[in-house]
């Protein structure tokens, strides 16, 4: 007899892997990492604005998932749970970074990433323009409070719906809309400022 849970597991292989890890068999954990690493690395990079920090953050996300495998509640997708862990980790990183900057241990420049276009063979004029847009966007995102930043990144760059963003952040859809609206107001103001 096929149960609902069985069907859900069949649709989400990561759920099966997590159940096995919780039981002490981590044989499939590498596959779970492989299936989710690209999305998590991208999310962390977009939230933190730094590929090296993103690598550490993604690694920490997987380690937390490994340690907490037994506490995973099989309600939603494992990928949503991983997104949540990654987002919370990155937001904590951002808070720590702000504290460090406030105390004066790190200069502001350290937060600003070097943004280089990946293909140097592209037209130099377009390349310059792209670099300018990326930098402007990065600066605008970096000025957003963590809550607004996470909503904007998840909706705009990860392509999540309001409902999915709400699930990841464990907030209501109304709160998602509200944060996104405020974020857009700030972004518009920053874009006007930059001309």
């Amino acid at each position: 007899m096929v149960t609902e849970e069985g069907l859900a597991e069949a649709h989400d292989p990561d759920r099966v892997v997590l159940a096995r890890v919780a039981a002490g068999d981590d044989g499939g954990f590498g596959e779970l990492v492989e299936r989710n690493q690209e999305r998590l690395l991208h999310l962390c990079e977009r939230l933190l604005g730094n590929p090296e920090e993103a690598r550490d953050a993604a690694q920490e996300t997987f380690l937390k998932a490994y340690r907490k495998a037994a506490s995973f509640k099989p309600r939603g997708q494992v990928s949503t749970w991983l997104y949540r862990i990654a987002t919370n980790h990155c937001l904590n990183q951002l808070r720590r970074r702000r504290i460090v900057r406030f105390v004066g241990f790190a200069p502001r420049r350290a937060e600003e990433p070097e943004i280089d276009p990946p293909d140097s063979r592209a037209d130099p004029g377009r390349e310059h323009e792209a670099r300018r847009r990326w930098r402007r966007t990065r600066e605008a995102i970096d000025r957003l409070p963590p809550g607004q930043r996470s909503v904007l990144v998840l909706a705009k760059f990860e392509g999540l719906s309001y409902r999915q963003v709400a699930e990841v952040l464990e907030i209501t859809e109304g709160a998602v809309e509200s944060r996104l609206f405020r974020a857009m107001r700030r972004i518009e103001a920053a874009q006007e400022e930059a001309g």
């Binding site: 039981a23 590929p51 690598r55 380690l63 847009r133 995102i141 857009m184 518009e188």
Partner: protein
């Protein structure tokens, strides 16, 4: 622009406005140039958000994560291992408690192994009492039983 309308425009832009509301807003957009212009501004701001393509996944990332996970102190323990350790502990405690009772049925706190053989014998439990003769005597007795009295012994 009205705050509520601005929100509605944003939801329309993101495809999050329910069908009936979206149709109503589109009807208004067709007849209100200011509203259409505002939607254009929001769209430009939204589409103007661009970030560089993210860095590729580093080579060997999966292997490093798995290796670190296995080294991690909080790594999950197999349930059977947890159960076995718990059972062992429970058995150990049980045997210990039984031994204490057997060695000291009076209930007085006698510290084992401080208990002397005399006390054990006095307790009347022959299975736990040490043999009256020495190991050497036991050995020669066994040898005698098998081979008869040996010259070596004599």
């Amino acid at each position: 622009m009205e705050h509520t309308t601005d929100r509605q425009l944003m939801r329309l832009l993101h495809g999050e406005l329910p069908g009936a509301e979206a149709s109503e807003l589109r009807r208004r957009l067709a007849g209100e140039p200011a509203l259409a212009a505002r939607l254009g501004e929001l769209e430009a701001a939204w589409n103007g958000l661009e970030l560089p393509p993210p860095a590729p996944v580093p080579v060997g990332f999966t292997g490093r994560v798995v290796a670190r996970a296995r080294r991690t102190p909080g790594a999950v323990k197999p349930r059977w291992a947890v159960a076995a350790v718990s059972l062992g502990l429970a058995l150990g405690i049980g045997v210990g408690a039984r031994l204490t009772t057997v060695l000291d049925p009076s209930g007085a706190a006698t510290a084992w192994p401080g208990t002397t053989s005399g006390e054990i014998a006095a307790a009347g439990d022959d299975d736990l009492a040490p043999p009256a003769s020495s190991l050497a005597d036991e050995y020669w007795r066994a040898v005698d039983e098998v081979f008869g009295e040996t010259e070596v012994r004599r």
